[in-house]
Amino acid sequence: MSADGLRRLWAGVVLGGILLGGCSTAARMKDVNSTPPLRSYEQLVGSGRHLLEVDDSLEGFNRGSYRFNYYFDGFLFIPMVRGYEFVLPNYVQGRLSNAFDNVGEFGNLTNSLLQFKLKSAGITVGRFVVNSTVGIAGLWDPATAWGLRRQSRNLGQTLACYGAGSGSYLVLPILGPINVRDASGMLLDTAAASLVGPAALWSGNTVASIAYTGTSAVDKRHRVPFRYRQTGSPFEYELLRMLNSMMGESGVPD
C-alpha cells in the first residue's frame, strides 16, 4: 500500500470514528440464559466512574483493531524491527531516529504557534536550524546539548488548548491507541507536513515517500517498548486504555 493509500485509510478510520462517536455499543450485556456470578459488579464495585471505565463508545471496533495490531505486530512489525536492529548498529539507529525527529520539528513549530507558545516556537526554529546544519541534516542533535530541548507539540494538544474534549478512546489499525481528538489532529499534522513541510520535498516521488513512511514507522515502533501480552493480564486492553486516558488528561506527551 502506498503512503497516500495509508493516509487515506487512516482518514477513513478517523472520520468513521467521529461519525460513530455518538452511538454506544451498550457496554454491559445481560444474558438471560446464564446465572449471575457470586461476586458481582453491583455488590463489589462502588458507584462513580472508575479509572478503568474510560469512554469507549467504539469498543467493538477498537477491540477488532487491537486484535489486528496484535497479529500485525507479531508477524510483521516486530520481525521488521528485529531485522532493523540486527542490520543497523545502535549508532546508526540513533542517527536515523534523530533525522526523523528533525523532520518532525515542522509539526512542533506549527503547533507551538497555534498554541501561542512563542518561546517553544523559537526554540524549535533554533533546533531545526542547528541540527540541520551543524547536526548534518538532523542526523545528530547538538541543539539538545546546547540547551535547546525538544518541544513536543501536536495538533491533538492544540485542539485540547482550544477546548476540544478528548472524545472516545480509539484504537487505530497499525498506529495503536489514541483518542478521536488526537487522531484528527494527527491526520491534519501529517497532511500539513506532507503538503508544505520538509516531507513535501519527496512527496512527488512514490518510492521515496514509501521508503520514508516505512522506515519512520519501523523507527517509531523500535522506540516504543510495549510488547503485546507483557502484562500477563487478561485485562491488557483495559489497562492500556486506562493508561492512555490518564496520560492524555495530564498533558504528558507520549
Partner: protein, 430 residues
C-alpha cells in the same frame, strides 16, 4: 616515562577490583528496609556478572491438545517455555517462576543465564498462577499445592520429550523462586514416586512457608498502606502513575508491567508506605488475573456469569473491576477450598490448609539431602517463627542472609555463589 606511569596506573585500576573481589568479603547489601530491598534492583556493580547473550530458543507445549480454548483468550495457543542449551553433555535444570511470572520475565532470564554460566542446560517454566499456564496447562483450579505440582510435572515431561533430541543430558536438577520454590518442593516430592527425573539437586529460593499466610500478608500491604484506606485507592494510584509519567521522560514510555513500576519507583523519593502499597498492588493484580482466568476456564459462576459466554470482543471492564476487588484469600475460601472439600470426601478444612504449607512436606524436606534453601531473615512473605522452622528443617543445607527482603539479593554474588556451589556439589556435606 609518563607513558609507562600511565600504563602502570591503568593496570592497577584494572587489577584493583579483582583484588577486592578475591579477598574474603563480608555480605554487604545496600538496602536495610525489606520493602525497599524487595523493590529496588541491586546496582549493577554489586550484581553477579552474567553473559549478555546465551544460546537459547523458545518452544511451545500443548499438554491438553483437545482443549477448547475460550474465545476471550484468543491470543492463547499452547504454553511457551525457554530452553538455554550447552553444546556438550550437561545436567538439565528446570526453573519455575514466581507468582504471576512467565518464563521470560527479567528475573527468569537472569536465573537462566546464571545456571547456564554454571554449566547447565536450562528450561524456564511459567508459573502455574500465570494466565498462560492456567489456560493451557492447568488440570483444575490453580493454587493447590498438589494439583499445581502435577500440572508442572506434566509440563516438564512434555518439554523434555520435545527437546531431548537436541541436547545431551547427564542428569536433572530443579529450582524455583518464591511461589516457584514452593512448587519445586512439591514437584520434588512427586518425583520420588514418579521417578521420571530423579532430581539430583533441588534449590528453593525464598519460598513461603504457609502459602495462605504469605498471600494474606502481601494483600495486607496494599490495604494497610494506601494513604486514607482503600476508598482512596484510585486517588493514590492516579497520583503515583502521574508521578511515574513525569519520571518516564527519562525512562521512555510508561508501561503497566511490574518491572516498569519498580523501575519508576527507583527514581522517585521512596516513601516506605508507597513502596509497600506498590508490592501489595502488584500482588493483587497478579491474583486478579488468576481469579478471572481460573473462573472462565472452570465454567464461571464466581466473577463471571455461568456459563461465561465471552467472546474476543466482549467488554471486560466490569469483570476486571470485580477481579481487582477480589483477594487471593477470597478465591481460596469461596472457590478453591470448597471444590477440594467436595472432590475429596473426608478431607478436613484444616488438613487442606496444612497441605498449602511446606510443613506438609516437613519430614521429607528434613531427610532429603539433595534439597537446599536460600532465604532472607527480613523476607516480607515470612511470618514470625518461619525462619527458625526452616533452619530446623534444612539445617546446614539452608543459607539465610540477614537482609535482602523478598528476592532483592538474588543476584548478589554471594547469594548466586551459594546457589551455584550447591547445585554443582557432588554430595552435600553436612
Amino acid at each position: 616515562m609518563i607513558r609507562s606511569t600511565l600504563l602502570i596506573m591503568a593496570a592497577l585500576s584494572l587489577a584493583l577490583p579483582r583484588l577486592v573481589l578475591a579477598a574474603p568479603q563480608s555480605y554487604f547489601y545496600p538496602f536495610v528496609n525489606p520493602y525497599e530491598a524487595t523493590v529496588m534492583e541491586l546496582p549493577s556493580y554489586l550484581e553477579v556478572k552474567l553473559p549478555d547473550r546465551i544460546p537459547s530458543r523458545e518452544f511451545t507445549v500443548h499438554p491438553f491438545p483437545g482443549r477448547q480454548i475460550p474465545e476471550v483468550f484468543w491470543y492463547e495457543d499452547g504454553l511457551t517455555c525457554t530452553l538455554a542449551y550447552q553444546n556438550h553433555k550437561a545436567p538439565l535444570i528446570f526453573v519455575i517462576a514466581g507468582t504471576g511470572s512467565s518464563h521470560d520475565s527479567s528475573r527468569m532470564v537472569k536465573l537462566q543465564k546464571l545456571f547456564y554460566q554454571a554449566g547447565f542446560h536450562v528450561i524456564s517454566l511459567t508459573s502455574p498462577t500465570h494466565m498462560d499456564f492456567i489456560v493451557n496447562a492447568s488440570g483444575g483450579l490453580p493454587g493447590d499445592s498438589l494439583g499445581d505440582a502435577q500440572d508442572l510435572y506434566r509440563i516438564m515431561e512434555l518439554a523434555y520429550s520435545q527437546i531431548r533430541g537436541e541436547i545431551e543430558v547427564s542428569g536433572f536438577a530443579l529450582a524455583g523462586y518464591s511461589l516457584g520454590a514452593f512448587n519445586a518442593a512439591f514437584v520434588a516430592n512427586l518425583d520420588e514416586q514418579r521417578k521420571v527425573f530423579n532430581f539430583q539437586k533441588v534449590l528453593l529460593l525464598n519460598p513461603p512457608v504457609s502459602l495462605i499466610e504469605s498471600v494474606t500478608a502481601l494483600d495486607q500491604l496494599l490495604v494497610e498502606n494506601v494513604p486514607g484506606g482503600m476508598n482512596q485507592f484510585e486517588v493514590w494510584f492516579k497520583n503515583a502513575l502521574l508521578q511515574m509519567a513525569a519520571v518516564s521522560r527519562q525512562m521512555g514510555p510508561v508501561e503497566l508491567s511490574c518491572d516498569f513500576l519498580y523501575g519508576a519507583y527507583k527514581r522517585l523519593p521512596p516513601k516506605v508506605e508507597n513502596v509497600a502499597a506498590l508490592i501489595g498492588l502488584s500482588f493483587r493484580m497478579n491474583s486478579a488475573n488468576l481469579v478471572f482466568t481460573a473462573d472462565v476456564m472452570n465454567g464461571g459462576g464466581y466473577v463471571v456469569p455461568k456459563p461465561p459466554r465471552l467472546t474476543a470482543s466482549s467488554p471486560l471492564t466490569g469483570y476486571a473491576l470485580v477481579s481487582y476487588n477480589t483477594r487471593f484469600l477470597d478465591y481460596y475460601n469461596d472457590l478453591l477450598a470448597p471444590s477440594h472439600l467436595q472432590q475429596e470426601p473426608g478431607l478436613a478444612r484444616e488438613a487442606l490448609l496444612e497441605r498449602m504449607s511446606l510443613r506438609h512436606l516437613g519430614a521429607y524436606l528434613k531427610n532429603t539431602d539433595k534439597i537446599g534453601l536460600v532465604h532472607n531473615e527480613d523476607d516480607i512473605i515470612l511470618g514470625p517463627g518461619d525462619i527458625d522452622y526452616l533452619l530446623g528443617v534444612f539445617g546446614s543445607r539452608a543459607r539465610i542472609f540477614p537482609t535482602g527482603g523478598h528476592l532483592g539479593n538474588l543476584l548478589h554474588p554471594e547469594v548466586a555463589g551459594f546457589m551455584v556451589d550447591f547445585l554443582r556439589a557432588k554430595e552435600h556435606k553436612l
